[in-house]
């Protein structure tokens, strides 16, 4: 039964996810207040990172707790190439993406034939190793940290007005969401779910779980690295302890888990809720990037895993079911 383009478009418009994302796209236009746009940029950016993390860890159930490794590599490649060699950040981004893929393949090659926790361990070790390596090398033009020259222009990925960054971050988010969506509808996506559901059963059905994990991890690494490069151009200053901080790994994971592991909307939801929350917390208890903040993140993680592993998305769908039940029982 062939679906016409018109029908397909109609189904897209009715899809709550599409509506949600469209609404997000309009948000930057609602106010030109710098603080507001800055927060939106971060929301979009972290939703992007969480989505990328979610592909391998949420759908595939291979938890990467060192995803910041890709972030940092991307940040440094783009940053150094531009700051020290004047190479266009767009090329830098592309190269960051390539290195993201290579790093993913390296780790995957070593670990994907083994139990999942070897993979997790490797990602942790990798992130730490890179952080230490870059700290030791003291890369960059100004000692430990690298400052990115601020010469405006699209070619330099530098803008005077925040809204450009906001929309670029939004485009990044759109890209990763579309890719994720296409994957979930394809054979790779189903094989990925199978791998995450029960790897042995998947193998017994002909799924080359090793290859699936490699492909998906490479995609995840690719996006995260590019995002890291963007982050570098956005912040205009990077140093190893900043871009290889485990805090990022935690955030990517927490947003996805809180929002709903293994769903497409989950990471976005997590980011939309937690980033503003953390910003408001900043004034109250010093912010979510502080000891109390991470303490709370830790508690949230443990509680969610123990009591609501499906995150907010699961909570929402449970509520929908309850409401539907109540409606149908009322009809009787």
């Amino acid at each position: 039964m062939k679906v016409t383009t018109g029908q397909r478009l109609q189904s897209y418009i009715k899809d709550p996810l599409v509506v949600f994302i469209a609404v997000l796209g309009i948000l930057p236009l609602l106010s030109s207040h710098h603080f507001y746009l800055q927060m939106l940029t971060l929301v979009f950016l972290f939703a992007f990172f969480s989505e990328a993390w979610n592909i391998i860890s949420g759908f595939g159930k291979q938890f990467s707790l060192g995803h910041v490794a890709f972030f940092g590599i991307g940040a440094y490649i783009t940053g150094i190439l531009y700051a020290d060699y004047g190479i266009s950040p767009w090329i830098g981004l592309a190269l960051s993406g390539v290195f993201g893929i290579l790093l993913a393949l390296l780790i995957g090659f070593a670990t994907f034939r083994l139990r999942a926790f070897f993979f997790t361990l490797s990602t942790i070790a990798c992130a730490e190793a890179l952080r230490v390596l870059f700290t030791y090398w003291r890369l960059g033009s100004t000692g430990l940290g690298t400052t990115i020259p601020a010469v405006n222009g699209l070619g330099n990925l530098t803008f005077s007005h925040e809204i450009y960054y906001t929309y670029l971050a939004y485009i990044l988010l759109l890209t990763v969401v579309s890719v994720t969506y296409r994957i979930t509808k394809s054979r790779i996506g189903y094989y990925l779910f199978a791998t995450g559901g029960d790897e042995e059963a998947a193998k017994s059905l002909g799924v080359n779980t090793y290859r699936i994990k490699l492909i998906v991890f490479a995609i995840s690494g690719f996006f995260t690295a590019i995002g890291g490069g963007f982050y570098c151009m956005y912040m205009r200053y990077i140093e190893p302890c900043m871009v290889f901080a485990v805090d990022f790994s935690v955030q990517f994971a927490v947003f996805a888990i809180v929002g709903g592991l293994g769903t497409i909307a989950g990471p976005i939801l997590g980011s939309v809720i937690l980033i503003p929350l953390s910003t408001f917390f900043r004034s109250w208890i010093g912010g979510l990037f502080t000891p109390i903040g991470f303490l709370i993140y830790g508690i949230i993680l443990v509680l969610i895993i123990l009591f609501l592993p499906g995150g907010l998305m699961k909570g929402i769908s449970m509520m929908k079911d309850k409401i539907a039940q109540r409606i149908s029982s009322r009809k009787e």
Partner: protein
């Protein structure tokens, strides 16, 4: 050349303490099947425990073990009953995320309690050095190794010569089988958890005598212990000890000949190498990659 020998000796001594730490992990992982990514933070807390006891009472932290050991054991049992038990039945992924979250709770909880300064303990023998053949070895390291050897010996005897110990080994190898011959698995799990925490307590106390503690050193020890366990072979005590010594010696070498900061990088490279060449570890059971 002398330095080289010095490094090896220091490595072996520190390695014993590392071995004890890693054994704590191995017991819990091997018996309960629990992947604990907060292990390093337990060590951090043990180090603070030793520090506090020493601070408050002025005693040598090793003496403080008379208090810490029973507490650790009871704590292990409590942890099992209230947390580990729930996690064991959940899929492995949940272990990882939950203990990862726990790690953060410990790290930042400790930061709030103890502030972010580095703390260490100096004892009457901290500055003393044992001198032979032009080698200088400080007493804290010696005592640390001694404590580790004693505890490991006790542990091995317990596992091999007592009924409970044998039951623990049985459960490690075959949970279902063990249940079938009437072993109360929950009791075994609880005891294993308690034992694991005892190992952590002792190694924490040793560590605080020759290293400083900081709320965020947990992840470093965590990585260290996991790499040791993988290198030595999961489930093998001699493997863990050998692995720990290798790692400690490597740490000394890299730290001296290159740069202390690069040791983490060295771990990563070595870890990947192990996984690619022989993931079952030195003494682990070689299993076919599927």
């Amino acid at each position: 050349m002398e330095i080289f020998i010095q490094l090896i000796i220091n490595g072996c001594l520190t390695g014993m303490t590392y071995a004890l730490m890693a054994l704590g992990l191995s017991i819990i992982f091997g018996t309960l099947g629990l992947i604990n990514f907060a292990h390093g933070d337990f060590i951090m807390l043990a180090m603070y425990g030793g520090f506090l006891i020493s601070l408050c009472s002025g005693m040598d932290p090793y003496l403080g073990l008379f208090i810490m050991l029973p507490v650790a054991f009871v704590l292990g049992i409590a942890l099992y009953r209230f947390l580990f038990k729930r996690l064991i039945d959940a899929p492995e992924e949940s272990h990882i995320i939950a203990t990862f979250g726990l790690s953060f709770v410990f790290q930042y909880g400790a930061m709030l309690l103890f502030s972010a300064e580095y703390k260490s303990v100096s004892t009457d023998y901290s500055a003393n050095v044992f001198h032979f053949w032009n080698q200088y070895i400080d007493y804290p390291h010696i005592y640390g190794a001694l404590a580790a050897v004693i505890l490991i010996a006790l542990l091995i005897s317990f596992l091999h010569y007592t009924n409970t110990g044998r039951a623990i080994r049985a459960v490690s190898e075959q949970r279902r089988g063990a249940m079938m011959i009437g072993i109360n698995v929950h009791k075994i799990y609880a005891i294993a958890a308690g034992l694991g925490l005892c190992c952590i307590a002792v190694s924490g106390v040793s560590l605080i005598t020759f290293e400083s503690v900081h709320p965020t050193i947990g992840p470093h020890f965590n990585l260290l212990c996991w790499i040791i366990v993988v290198l030595g072979g999961i489930g093998s005590i001699p493997g863990t000890i050998l692995g720990a010594i290798i790692i400690a010696v490597m740490e000394m070498m890299v730290g001296y000949y290159f740069e202390p900061a690069l040791t983490t990088f060295a771990y990563f490279v070595m870890f990947l190498a192990i996984l690619m060449i022989r993931p079952s570890g030195i003494f682990g059971v070689k299993e076919r990659r599927a």
